[in-house]
């Protein structure tokens, strides 16, 4: 394992005990989100998925910034770091470079990850550091009590925009794709199985995994997503992306999406329409054009896509960094500090 065993706590390569359960991932800290907050559901799903990953608990680290969402690490009985606003990805990058064998997760919010921390997010993604980044998007600043965020709708009235926001919102999936992230997905706090599935997929991905999770903040931005997350409308207003499958949605799968040139169209199936001409999802396309095009789909014109937009393979930063070190060690022979101190040119002064 190269140069990093020296920093391990001794048994970092221990196998996961088969017996880990959800409870093992619940810390002793009282959860302090508002009653009804969507964060609870996300926490529960992550705690549910963790024991299934076969990773020893002590090898898992959750790192967050600041925000309601960023309290997440306190509630996970793993290693955790509640850092400062917007910078979680930078700590995670340093940790992963120093300790490639750890499973490093980043939890961030729409303000933390896209406002103050937008740049770090992009750079972590483009470097393909093997981090699992969960961005809880509630389209509001929760912790500071209700200012608009970079994902808030245009015109939104909040504490800091009493006359309505005049900023055009940012699309997190689009930003991640522009950074050439190797794994980009979206889920939400109301479909627990889907959420668990996406978290699992992210965990399984080797490389940066970015997951946007729509999360309801029932205190400062209640109902932000219910127009498509509520059970009765969900089928008609969302489309679940599945690799290699045509884009079908609607109650009973009665609608689909096809392309006209570069323009997506919703078509009715059932009455004559076949799935053959529909757009088929390809999460593995090297070029992110399809994923990008899908990221634009939005209600009411289109259903909102959920699932994995992109999942491709590329060497990760920490692996390549380790390889350069290992190769240098091999090439340079045993590390001779004395030779380094001596340098290329010396002279001697006699007594």
């Amino acid at each position: 394992m190269g140069m990093n065993t020296d920093v391990g706590g001794g048994t970092a390569t221990r196998e996961a005990p088969a017996s880990l359960s959800r409870k093992d991932f619940v810390s002793d800290q009282e959860v302090r989100w508002c009653p009804g907050c969507g964060d609870y559901a996300i926490l529960a799903q992550v705690q549910r998925v963790m024991p299934t990953l076969g990773i020893p608990r002590e090898n898992i680290v959750f790192i967050s910034g600041i925000g309601c969402s960023s309290r997440f690490p306190y509630y996970m009985n793993t290693y955790g770091f509640h850092s400062i606003h917007g910078r979680a990805a930078t700590l995670a990058t340093g940790l992963k470079c120093a300790r490639p064998e750890l499973s490093v997760w980043v939890v961030t919010g729409d303000g933390d990850g896209l406002s103050i921390g937008g740049n770090h997010l992009i750079h972590a993604l483009r470097r393909n550091v093997d981090l699992k980044i969960l961005l809880f998007n509630n389209r509001i600043y929760g912790l500071t009590k209700g200012q608009y965020s970079p994902t808030s709708e245009f015109g939104k009235k909040t504490k800091s925009t009493p006359l309505g926001s005049i900023d055009y919102p940012i699309n997190p999936v689009q930003v991640a794709l522009a950074a050439e992230a190797t794994f980009v997905a979206r889920s939400f706090d109301r479909d627990l199985n889907h959420l668990a599935h996406i978290v699992e997929r992210a965990a399984a991905h080797k490389g940066s995994a970015f997951v946007e999770i729509y999360q309801n903040c029932n205190i400062f931005n209640d109902h932000a997503f219910e127009h498509f997350t509520e059970k009765d409308v969900r089928d008609d207003r969302t489309v679940y992306l599945e690799h290699g499958k045509p884009l079908v949605f609607g109650r009973g799968g009665d609608k689909g999406i096809r392309l006209r040139g570069l323009h997506p169209e919703v078509v009715a199936l059932g009455d004559g329409g076949s799935t053959e001409e529909l757009l088929v999802h390809d999460e593995r396309a090297r070029d992110a054009s399809l994923a990008y095009l899908l990221s634009h789909l939005d209600y009411p014109e289109y259903p909102i896509p959920l699932g994995v937009f992109r999942a491709i393979q590329r060497p990760t930063l920490e692996t390549m960094m380790q390889t350069q070190v290992d190769q240098a060690v091999q090439k340079g022979g045993p590390r001779d500090l004395d030779a380094l101190l001596r340098g290329r040119e010396t002279w001697t002064v006699d007594a």
């Binding site: 090898n59 009985n77 509640h82 910078r87 340093g94 470079c97 070190v325 060690v329 500090l337 380094l340």
Partner: protein
Amino acid sequence: MTTDIRSGAVAGKPREALDAVTIRFAGDSGDGMQLTGTQFTSTSAVVGNDIATLPDFPAEIRAPAGSLPGVSGFQLHFSSRDIRTPGDEPDVLVAMNPAALKVNIGDLLEGGMVIVDTDAFTKGNLAKAGYDHNPLDSGELSRYRVFPVNLTTLNANALAETTLSKKERDRCRNLFALGLLYWLFDRPMEKTVRWIQDKFGKRPEVADANLRALRAGFNYADTVELFTTHYTVDRARLEPGTYRSITGNEATALGFIAAAHRAGKTLFYGSYPITPASDILHELSMHKEFGVKTFQAEDEIAAMGSAIGAAFGGAIALTGTSGPGLALKSEAIGLAVMTELPVVIVDVQRGGPSTGLPTKTEQADLLQAFFGRNGECPVPVVAPATPADCFSMALEAVRIATTYMTPVLYLSDGYLANGTEPWRFPTTESLPDLRVEHWTRAEGFMPYLRDQRTLARPWALPGTPGLEHRIGGLEKADITGNVCYDPDNHHHMVSLRAEKVARVAESLPPLEVFGPPTGRVLVVGWGGTHGAITSAVERLREEGLSVSSVHLRYLNPFQKELGEVLGGFDKVLVPEINLGQLRFLLRARYLVDALGYNRVRGKPLKIHELAGHIRSLV
């Protein structure tokens, strides 16, 4: 034995011994002045002189050829005595063009030598340097001894037989000049000959041309009665041992590699390029064979964040920058203070405020290092005193950080970073053992337990079963480390963090006074002014004056003896390249009416000016 090159004006004697000489090579960025200076330096080191050098880079990458901003300089001080600075004022100026003359002539010692390439004093070049006349003809250089040499022509003639293009031939001009100076100061050419052969091994015709130029310069000086005298500078009585020459930035890089090696750990360096700190990144990234991991972050905040992450993971974590970058890191340094993680932050100070004078030196980040963070946020501060001392203080910074579980600020400066001095490098086994113990037992583990002596909390690493815990920037409950809003706990923790830093003093070597421990004037310095201050004090003591000095390499906390030492003198003077930052700290701490000597000129202090000022105080 004369001690002043000006006396060389007295003609006749073919060889005259000098104590010390300061030469400044100056020319266009493209003229190879750094290289010429470095060769002269190596050769002088090998013949046994004590040496100190300082390059003076232009602020522009490649300003237009011949222009004032394009002038690049290299100053070298070599001596038969123990010297500590690259010299106040050059005795000899080599000016390859009018711009180089104009920029540098003001610094030359009155009566000093000026060697100029007259071929470069064309109308065009004169105009580019802002001359409306030729200073070689105007008499304005009459206070100096001018040696005009049609260097370009002579060099071109010497290389007439080579196959090189005119441009390539002209590039050898600097070696012609070097040859001249080798004759003038009676230096052997072997080292440079070997170096040329090595460097241009793959292009024999270029190697040959450079060798010819070097020899031609030497022979020209020997043959032509240009210089009436040549000079010798005897070997210095340095401590016996094997030496190398080293810059502060190199020493910093090697120091941290050595520290990580002695800790048995990976060195992680997260940084964002910035003058004059970038060379540390360059140097470290060339030493991956020591397990060094370098990470060029997207900005300074990310660099600091990555170092905190690496420290959490158990690496020897380092980040490096200059003043503006330190400002950006300040919030994240606070996080390292709250989470009590060992991260070393290197600040290679440069001229400020704001972008300021990026290529110039200054000492004006001391108070930023102390106070540039929100809340009560103390960190230990250390500062190397000389280029080679950068190595020792790097080891000290790591020792303090890992022993006390705290971020440490390491203040270098532009002068130290690029200056060189001979270094009697240590052997690995003579270096301190920096191994650390990580907490591994699950029983009794609490993230904010304290070592009774150091007040350090345990360094418990991810990957250790049973120690799963969470840390962060919110106030911590004592011992458990849980988030805690309790008022008394907060007061306790704020005081405890302060006390922990204060305790570092217990582990520091005693403060050494240079000179008698009591007397009339005590000069207190820190950082890169060490050479100038010590030389000035030494000079004054030789004059019989009651002057001592202390040079602080530990700024926070101060060494325990400092208060007493200050009390032993009638006057305390604090020379600094800022408006009085250490002075401010001393006044507040010890209520001593410390006086200031402050020259914020982007340059090292001058020994003779400082000595004059101290003299006026005694």
